[in-house]
Symmetry: C2
C-alpha cells in the first residue's frame, strides 16, 4: 500500500519540574510528531524527541526536513519497509526524526496487516518494568525525590550524576537509605574523568550500593576511557552517548569497551536499534533501553520495540511521566513502574 | 495462536548428476520436512537439508529431535516468535532443523496475518538472480557443464575447486573461454592451504578471470589463514564453513578475516542468519546467500529471506535445480537464473 502523505507537527511540553543532567537543565521539551498516511487511509504515528545537548537536534530543524522526507517516501510501498529504512539512512545527522518516521512506517505496516507493533518485533512480552529518574539536585531534594519514587512503587531508580564526585557519592549513598529494596542506575552523562568515574564507583561499592548499571561515565569519544572504567569498576559500564549508530556499537565491541549498551530509538532510529540488538547479543553485551523527552505517543515506540524483542534487561522509559500532557495518548497502561501493552 | 502439532517427514532425493566438492561426492540428498500446525488449522512449512561433510547432521538424526522440538513448542503462541527463537537456540548442534522449524514458525505467523514471508523480512524485492554450480569434474566435463549453464542464461557461475591447484586453475580459465560474459564464484570448500589459495587466485587474476567471490579457501578453523588469503588475494574472500553462528560472524569481523560472508539458513537457522546480516552490514562486510541440498519447498525459505531483506549481493540458490522432484512445490517461478516470487 502506497504512502500518500507525511505530516510533521511540532509540540511543546513543560516538565513538571526542571530536569538537570550533567550537560544542562531543561524546563521544556519540544518534539515533532510524524504521521505517515497510506492510500487506503491507514495512518502510522511516530514522535521525534531530542535533547540538543546530546544529539545536536532541535525540533525546529527537524521540522525543516519535511520536504526531504516526502521526496524519499511519497509513492513508496509500506510493505517494502527494508528499502525505506535503507533510503532513510540519509537522515544520518538527525536520528530522532529518522526514528519517528521509521516507527510510523512500521506502525502503518502493522495496521495494514492487523498486527500490533510489538508482535511485529517478536511478541516476547506485553509487560515491562521501568525505572524512574532523579536529575542532578542538591542532597536534600535528591533524597526527597528518591523517596517519593520509591513510595510510588519503583524498584529501579536512576540517579543523574557527573558534576561533583564527592557530592554525587553522598547523594547516591543517602538515597539508598530511603529506598532499601531499590537497585540503581547511575548516569554521569559523560561528566567524569576516567579516574573520577572509578573513584565514584569504588566508593559506592564500599557502601554496598546495588548499582546495576553505571552509564556513560566519561566523554562519548573517549573509548579508551570507557574501557578503563569498565576494567577498573566493580559495576557494569554502559555506553549511552558513545553509541548512536550500529557502527558505533561494533566499534565498542571491537574495543572491548563496555558491558552494556543503552539503546535509544532517538539516537539510532529503529533500523540501527535493531542492528545494535543483534550485535550486542552476538557479543554477549547486555542491553538497556532509554529515552529522550518523548511524550506518551512517542514512548510507545520504545515500549513496543522492547516488549517485542524482549532484548532488554533494564528499561528506562519514563520521559512521559515527567511531562505535562493535555491527554494521554499511549496504547498502554501505566501502573506505577509497570507498563502493560493492551 | 497456539501451536498444536509439529510433524517431521524424511524425504530422499536423487541428484540429476553426481555432485562432487572438495569434501566428498553426493548422489542422493535426504532432507527433513517440517510442518508446524496452529490451533486454527494454519500450517507453516520448513525443510532441513544438510551435507554431513559440512555440518555433521544427517536426516536420520534430525528426525530423532521430534519429541524435543514438540516439548519446546507445543502450546506456545506463534506471535511470540522471538521467545520461540530464543528457546530453539538449544538446537545448537543441529542448525538445519533449527532453520526449518524457525522458518515454519515464520511461515505460520505470516499466514496468520495474511502476509508473505518476504514482506515480513522487509519486502525489498520479489526477483532474484541466482548462480548455478559446477562440481569438481575433469576439465572436459567442467567446460561442457559451464557451457550448458551459460547457454541456459546464467551469468553467475559457481565452480567448485580445492582438490588440485594447477588443475583448478586450468578448469576455471578454460571455463571463462566458453562463457565470456559470466562472473565466477570459486569455492574451495576448505581444500587449499593458504599459500595454495593465493597462488590459485593470482593465477586467475593474471588471466583476467572475473571472480567476484573466492569462497572458503582454507580450513574453517584457520581464521589466520583466511586473513592471509584475504590480504594476499586480488579477489574478495568469503567465509562459508567458517561461519555458522552469529558468534562466528562477529569473531571473523573482529579478526578482519574476510570480505564477504556466505549466509546459509541451514548453517545458522533463521535467527542467527538475521543477526549475521546486521553484523555484516555494521562491519561493511559483503553478503552472499547459499544453500545445502534443499528441494523446492526448502529453497523458498532462503528466497523469501533474501528477497525480503535485500541484503545479498550474490545468490547461490540452485540446489533445487539439481534434484529430481516428483513435483515442484515452491511459491516462486524459476525462469533460467531468475527467481520470481508470486
Amino acid at each position: 500500500m502506497k504512502i500518500t502523505s507525511i505530516s510533521f507537527k511540532k509540540t511543546l511540553y513543560s516538565y513538571f519540574e526542571p530536569f538537570t543532567i550533567s550537560l544542562g537543565s531543561h524546563e521544556e521539551q519540544e518534539n515533532v510528531e510524524v504521521c505517515v498516511k497510506l492510500k487506503n487511509g491507514i495512518e502510522g504515528y511516530g514522535e521525534a524527541s531530542s535533547l540538543f545537548v546530546i544529539s545536536g537536534e532541535t525540533a525546529a530543524m527537524l521540522e525543516k526536513l519535511h520536504q526531504t522526507v516526502e521526496d524519499i517516501l511519497i509513492g513508496k510501498d509500506v510493505e517494502s519497509y527494508a528499502n525505506l529504512f535503507h533510503d532513510l539512512q540519509t537522515l544520518r545527522a538527525t536520528p530522532a526524526i529518522k526514528a519517528a518516521i521509521e516507527f510510523a512506517i512500521v506502525d502503518a505496516f502493522c495496521k495494514q496487516f492487523n498486527m500490533k507493533p510489538y508482535q511485529f518485533f517478536g511478541g516476547s512480552k506485553n509487560t515491562l518494568e521501568t525505572d524512574k529518574t532523579v536529575g542532578i539536585e542538591n542532597l536534600e531534594n535528591t533524597i526527597k525525590k528518591v523517596k517519593r519514587i520509591y513510595d510510588e512503587g519503583f524498584r529501579k531508580i536512576k540517579i543523574k550524576v557527573g558534576r561533583d564526585v564527592k557530592n554525587d557519592i553522598e547523594r547516591v549513598v543517602k538515597s539508598k537509605e530511603v529506598s532499601p529494596q531499590a537497585s540503581f542506575i547511575v548516569d554521569a552523562n559523560q561528566g567524569f574523568t576516567p579516574k573520577e568515574a572509578v573513584e565514584f564507583a569504588k566508593a559506592l561499592y564500599a557502601e554496598k550500593v546495588d548499582v546495576v548499571i553505571f552509564e556513560q561515565p566519561v566523554n562519548r569519544y573517549n573509548i579508551e576511557g570507557m574501557r578503563f572504567v569498565r576494567f577498573n569498576s566493580p559495576y557494569p559500564v554502559a555506553a549511552d552517548e558513545s553509541v548512536f549508530t550500529k557502527y558505533d556499537a561494533l566499534k565498542l565491541v571491537r574495543e572491548d569497551a563496555v558491558d552494556f549498551i543503552n539503546i535509544k530509538l532517538m539516537k539510532s532510529g529503529l533500523s540501527d536499534a535493531m542492528s545494535i540488538v543483534h550485535i550486542a547479543q552476538a557479543a554477549n553485551i547486555g542491553l538497556m533501553i532509554g529515552c529522550m523527552g518523548e511524550s506518551s505517543i512517542g514512548i510507545r515506540q520504545s515500549i513496543h520495540f522492547a516488549a517485542g524483542t524482549g532484548a532488554f534487561l533494564y528499561h528506562d522509559l519514563d520521559s512521559h511521566l515527567s511531562l505535562k500532557e493535555e491527554s494521554f495518548r499511549g496504547d498502554f497502561v501505566q501502573d506505577g513502574p509497570f507498563i502493560i501493552l493492551e
